[in-house]
């Protein structure tokens, strides 16, 4: 199993919980806005600590409340693509892309800058500042930055939400290629039924 997730967390009045196991490919966490999907991704990424439960990806335990395992986010090797890109505004595209790559152990890297920019069609953007990018360009750079950090799996939080229709199609094709050509396990959050039907190998209902 690629993803084995059984976690819960109380946030204020809400209780956020998930219990699923999924093989490779793209697993969509599907549910209405406010159901806690992003919080679930954050727990898998190590940015939010579950109250109880267990998270394993590809056989590696990332969190296990009973056994006291809680890998910090920086050691989980998650490639997190955020809804809003979150490119570092004070670094050019090239330095954004290489941020995680430089931090990764050489043996953990599986993509070069050239491969990533070729794969995503962003070689012409390398010297640009993030604020000069369109939404689609920024999202491709964000995906490239995640891939170059040498991740074992990807977490994608509504990566299409802030894009117009034409850009959505463009990024959707990129995600299909990530799923099919790179064979990376992907945990994908969305509230859009069409998106999920097209991209997901399996769907986990949340909320």
């Amino acid at each position: 199993m690629s993803f084995e997730v059984c976690i819960e967390r109380r946030l204020g009045e809400r209780r956020i919980a998930a219990d699923f196991a999924a093989a490779g490919g793209l697993t969509a966490l599907f549910g209405p806005s406010g159901a806690g999907k992003t919080s679930l991704l954050n727990m898998v990424a190590g940015l939010l600590r579950p109250d109880a439960g267990r998270i394993a990806v590809g056989g590696t335990v990332l969190f296990d409340a009973q056994r006291g395992v809680d890998l910090p986010a920086r050691r989980r090797r998650a490639g997190y693509v955020f809804q809003d890109g979150r490119l570092f505004p004070h670094r050019r595209v090239r330095d954004n892309l290489l941020y995680g790559w430089k931090l990764a152990r050489p043996e953990d890297r599986w993509m070069t800058l050239d491969e990533a920019t070729g794969f995503l069609g962003i070689a012409h953007l390398l010297d640009r500042w993030p604020r000069t990018l369109s939404g689609g360009e920024a999202q491709r750079v964000a995906i490239g930055r995640a891939l170059l950090s040498g991740p074992r799996f990807l977490l994608m939080d509504e990566p299409l939400a802030s894009l117009d229709r034409a850009r959505r199609e463009e990024i959707m094709e990129v995600i299909e290629r990530l799923r099919d050509e790179l064979a990376l396990p992907i945990l994908y959050v969305s509230h859009d039924r069409d998106e999920v039907e097209r991209l997901a190998n399996r769907v986990v209902a949340v909320g």
């Binding site: 986010a73 998650a78 997190y80 955020f82 570092f88 941020y99 995680g100």
Partner: protein, 231 residues
Amino acid sequence: MLSPAEWEVIALSLKVSGVAVAASLPLAFALAWLLARGRFAGRILLDAAVHLPLVLPPVVTGWLLLILFGNTGPAGRWLEDTLGVTVMFRWTGAALAAAIMALPLMVRAMRLSIEAVDRRLEQAAESLGASRARVFATITLPLALPGLLAGMVLGFARSLGEFGATITFVSNIPGETRTLPIAIYSALQVPGSEGAVTRLSLIAVALSLAALVVSEVLTRRAGAGRGGDVL
């Protein structure tokens, strides 16, 4: 145009202010960080204490400094015994008074700039493999830097203008503690020295104006979405 005595006043003022800002920088930054990011009981009290010199009559601050850092005061004796530094009636004391008076402004500007850093960018860096120290050095600090510098410039300007606490604590000694505002005050006591008052006042206006402009430019740079290098 300026007499040697006037140049001495300006040089002393710049030295006192520079030392005041440099010496209080670590404390100001630590306080700003605590107030921006800390979650602890008594945060409001600490916030109030930091701002106290802003609202207290400066003469009271000077008197408190005299009690604490005078030759018989506990902090004064400690400084004398361990570091061999005397602050009372010395330019170091003027720097100490200026630092205390500038601290609220510095902390405030720095705190705002730290609070303005998007924590989600720090999370992104963490998920890319960065340790806390690296997140601080590569994300938080560069993004907060213009605001930190603005805080330093403001603190420097405030130090240049410091009068009440300084004259109370270290008096008015030419060449030692007679800084720009105190020199202007002294000149005003002497009949026929309008020329000196005018010259020194113009210099004070120019220095203050320059500091405010620099600080404003830095603050705008921090606020606007960044496109160029940080500096």
